[in-house]
């Protein structure tokens, strides 16, 4: 059955692409929403509390990291919908490769997030933002963002399998916001009360944002932070990937 692992995963990924083609508006809104946030925080709320240098240079990496974090919601919604509609039952009663349902989900979500990053970066460039340190560090930054998204993906799958019901997903959707904002995405931790600054600095999303700032050569970056931005997502993956896979395999309990 492992002979079909690739074919089946690809079939499941194509299923997601076919679903996108069915609702182009939703796909576009999904891509545009983070752009709106970027514009809103960049120009409307603005200010950049405690940020040295150009706020846009500080904000863009934060928004990219936040977009990756919010991807968790999309993953959760998609997984619970499949569970709720019973289509997962049909998949499970078919001679498919074991992991194909989850791999297909992961591939499609990563693809969507990569697209989201591309759109954000294009818009930021149009606003005058530049990655200052050249293509190598730029690609490394994109890699770190996608790694963070990958960790969020498996947290999302696990939470969806645990929650199982759309009502609980709503609760998580709301909780994603404070967790996303309790980071250094918009403001430097130095401007916050001590305890809050500590929480914010430990937020895995902040690690990624700080490393990406460094790789883009903007304000708020810290050299050497790359390792934290690699270690945190890997640590999350080490916990949630096996949990999610186990949970899925145990749908028969």
């Amino acid at each position: 059955m492992t002979a079909y692992a690739l074919t089946d995963s690809w079939t499941m990924t194509r299923r997601e692409l076919a679903r996108w083609a069915r609702r182009p508006v939703a796909v576009v809104v999904n891509l545009v929403f983070p752009v709106m946030m970027l514009l809103m925080f960049g120009y409307l709320v603005g200010g950049g509390r405690g940020v040295a240098g150009d706020y846009l240079d500080y904000l863009v990496p934060g928004m990219l990291a936040l977009t990756m974090a919010f991807g968790l919601e999309g993953t959760m919604v998609a997984v619970t919908q499949d569970l709720d509609k019973g289509v997962v039952d049909r998949f499970r009663a078919m001679p498919m490769a074991d992991g194909a349902v989850l791999v297909g989900r992961a591939a499609a979500d990563m693809l969507q997030s990569a697209l989201g990053l591309a759109v954000m970066i294009a818009v930021a460039s149009a606003l005058g933002w530049r990655a200052e340190r050249g293509p190598g560090p730029f690609l490394a930054a994109v890699g770190l963002l996608l790694l963070f998204r990958f960790a969020m993906l498996w947290i999302g799958i696990h939470l969806a399998l645990v929650a199982g019901r759309p009502e609980l997903v709503q609760a998580v959707q709301i909780l994603v916001w404070p967790v996303g904002f309790l980071s250094n995405a918009f403001a430097a931790p130095g401007t916050m009360p001590d305890w809050l600054g500590t929480v914010v600095q430990w937020n895995p999303m902040s690690q990624t944002a700080t490393a990406v700032r460094d790789l883009f050569g903007g304000p708020g970056g810290e050299p050497g932070h790359v390792w934290a931005a690699v270690a945190w997502p890997l640590a999350l993956l080490a916990v949630f990937f096996p949990l999610a896979v186990r949970r899925f395999a145990r749908l028969d309990r």
Partner: protein
């Protein structure tokens, strides 16, 4: 049993804090339709989910198409089709897209999957749905597509979990026709239902399930016979004569239903009892609108076996498209 398509021995499954299966035994011969009849919560759906490898039994031996559902689930999945209680489809995609998706996942190959999708859409009269997403289908269409998806590989064993629940009489008749034509092709069908009429119409054998175990097993006729044999039913022209008629006939266990002007008595000697009833009524000058010799209905059998009311509260008149067998097989006099 060597030619069994399904063997269940002592299956136990705790599910949702209760004993959904409590030592269930079941054998289904190849190429037959087996009805699993029982009230809500009797364990029918749990049984189907165990058979379809979706749930792992806590204890017991469960084999489908000669393979163990726990140790050899993959082999079982290659040989089964499943129509669950709720449509298991991608609602955002169209009918053809769904069938092609499932066909590919059955490893039919792209070309074969496409061809098979076309065949099944044709067979289930869904060719004119075009690109319409499944979410816009009617209940009957959805059910038909779901059934088509279960038949992509011409499975050896097909599980139908309450296939007509929630369908209107027309949708129900459509599903029944499909099931009948399938059995012609040699597929073994296990069908759960709350509708006694459905089991009577479709099943070669019926297992009555209550509280996670089989409480009775047999052909529909055997189950009806176990309930107490044939009865003679007499409908009088004049309800006022019911009392007189009952007294004259002097049959033990006679029941009177004034609303229907009906008098019903056990017909232990069948034809002898029947002719005695006819003669007695004629001699007394009591006019009968209808006289019939009938087997007890599955309704009565169910009541008898589970000690509770039948789960089939729907009036038989609602299923007129498909006949009235639940009212008993009447033999004209």
């Amino acid at each position: 049993m060597a030619d069994a398509a399904i063997t269940v021995e002592g299956a136990h499954k705790r599910y949702g804090g209760k004993r959904a299966l409590d030592g269930l035994d079941l054998t289904v011969a190849r190429g037959t339709v087996h009805g699993v009849l029982g009230p809500n919560g009797a364990g029918k759906t749990t049984l189907v989910r165990v058979l379809a490898t979706l749930l792992r039994p806590d204890a017991g031996r469960v084999e489908v198409a000669g393979h163990d559902v726990v140790t050899d689930a993959y082999a079982v999945r290659m040989r089964i089709g499943l129509l669950g209680q709720h449509a298991a489809l991608d609602e955002e995609l169209g009918g053809r897209q769904n069938l092609e998706l499932f066909g590919r996942l059955h490893h039919l190959g792209a070309k074969r999957a496409r061809a098979r999708a076309g065949e099944l859409l044709e067979r289930f009269a869904l060719t004119d749905t075009g690109r319409k997403p499944v979410s816009a289908y009617s209940g009957g269409m959805r059910r038909r597509l779901d059934l088509a998806a279960s038949l992509l590989t011409e499975p050896e064993v097909l599980f139908l979990d309450e296939p007509t629940t929630g369908l209107d009489p027309r949708g129900r008749a459509e599903v029944w026709d499909s099931v009948r034509s399938l059995v012609g092709g040699g597929t073994t069908v296990l069908l759960t239902t709350q509708y006694l009429e459905e089991a009577d119409q479709l099943a070669d054998r019926v297992s009555v399930v209550d509280a996670g175990r089989v409480v009775a097993d047999g052909t529909p006729d055997e189950l009806k016979a176990a309930t107490g044999g044939d009865r003679v039913d007499v409908v009088l022209r004049d309800a006022g004569q019911l009392g007189t008629a009952a007294a004259l006939l002097a049959l033990p266990g006679v029941r009177v239903d004034a609303d229907r002007r009906l008098l019903s008595a056990p017909a232990t000697d069948r034809m002898a009892t029947l002719s005695r009833v006819v003669r007695t009524l004629q001699e007394a000058g009591i006019e009968a609108a209808d006289i019939a010799l009938r087997r007890p209905t599955l309704d009565e059998a169910f009541l008898h076996l589970t000690g509770g009311p039948s789960p089939d509260h729907q009036p038989a008149s609602g299923h007129s498209a498909s006949g009235h067998l639940a009212d008993g097989t009447k033999e004209p006099v």
